[in-house]
């Protein structure tokens, strides 16, 4: 990693408006409550967990879609078979009449 970047040398100001225009740690909080590295890793992990969870949800939705499609295909196949059967029967009847 590179060296620490130089940051604006302006002293921390006390007005709320100034405070919200640049990055500043809370004053008077000398001891470190949370490890920056751990927070960073947690944030990155959360990012990927959320994205992968979304992929899993879409995968599940596609699975449900596939099931409905299979049902529809099965019903259409059944109807087609019935129609074929009826057609064949009609053909036999016509042949017999001849």
């Amino acid at each position: 990693m590179r060296d620490v970047a130089p940051f604006p040398s302006a002293a921390p100001s006390s007005t709320p408006d100034d405070r919200s225009t640049s990055f500043q740690a809370v004053e008077g909080n000398a001891k470190e409550q949370y490890s920056g590295g751990a927070l960073l890793v947690t944030a990155y992990a959360a990012l990927w967990v959320v994205l992968f969870a979304w992929v899993a949800i879409v995968w599940r939705k596609q699975g449900a879609l596939n099931m409905r499609l299979l049902d529809l295909e099965r019903v259409i196949d059944k109807a087609a078979a019935k129609a074929d059967e009826a057609g064949a029967r009609a053909e036999v009847t016509v042949t017999k009449k001849k």
Partner: protein, 240 residues
């Protein structure tokens, strides 16, 4: 001549490849090139994907707004699918923003959450899009429900500018690092890292919108085919 579906598939995979390369490059840049911030240390690197995640949330919300508005003007399955996909993208990136922001705040402010104007309005917007998805999941897929959802998609966007300007109007603790006058990122590599983050999240959001809208559209077409099958006297219910 290539089928249009194939061309679209090719475009999708090309976009996927570009996104993968961009994300890898961005991760390299954030961790190995961009400097550590002087006062906050390494935790400031959350910023490079926290801000782009809210921006991607805006993209999703914008897609939901446009799709919903278009649906209200002239109802089509594609417009509804685009709106729904947009809402989902908004929720995904809103969730990322709401998780990563407090992790940064823990270090910067000493607390995970404050009822700061920007945090509160951002949470409200996230909840609006969660409500949209809950409505779509449980209210059915009738045209009335779709129109009602479209109205929510349009009205939900009203909060987006409020989030953006809340810091300027009401102050609060939330930093305002990105400004028209150059902002608080003082090192060029910091600016590049943030620019890369915006690019990556734009690509990811576009991929998600595309993939999700496609599934949604396929679902609508299947529902229509099922309805046609029932009209023809075919029973489409699953057996056992």
């Amino acid at each position: 001549m290539a089928r249009p579906g194939r061309t679209l598939d090719g475009l999708f995979y090309a976009l996927l490849g570009v996104t993968a390369v961009a994300v890898i490059g961005e991760l390299y840049f954030i961790f190995l090139v961009a400097p550590i911030e002087a006062r906050m240390g390494i935790v400031q690197k959350i910023f490079y994907f926290h801000v782009p995640s809210w921006y991607a949330m805006y993209l999703g919300a914008g897609a939901c707004f446009l799709g919903s508005l278009a649906y209200l003007v002239h109802a089509t399955d594609a417009r509804d699918a685009f709106a729904r996909a947009g809402a989902e993208v908004a929720v995904v990136f809103g969730a990322i923003g709401l998780i990563t922001g407090p992790l940064w705040g823990a270090k910067a402010w000493g607390s995970f959450w404050t009822w700061d104007p920007r945090l509160t309005t951002a949470l409200l917007s996230f909840l609006i899009y969660v409500a949209y998805l809950v409505l779509r999941a449980f209210a059915g897929d009738g045209s009335v429900e779709k129109r009602f959802s479209a109205a929510l998609g349009v009205l939900g966007a009203a909060n987006l500018p409020i989030i953006h300007y809340s810091v300027q109007k009401w102050g609060g603790q939330h930093p305002m690092v990105i400004t028209g006058s150059g902002g608080g990122l003082q090192h060029p590599d910091m600016k590049l890292a943030l620019g890369g983050g915006f690019l990556c999240f734009t690509l990811i959001a576009a991929l998600m919108l595309w993939a999700r809208a496609r599934v949604e559209l396929a679902q609508s077409r299947l529902a229509r085919a099922e309805a046609d099958a029932i009209d023809l006297g075919l029973d489409t219910r699953t057996e056992g």
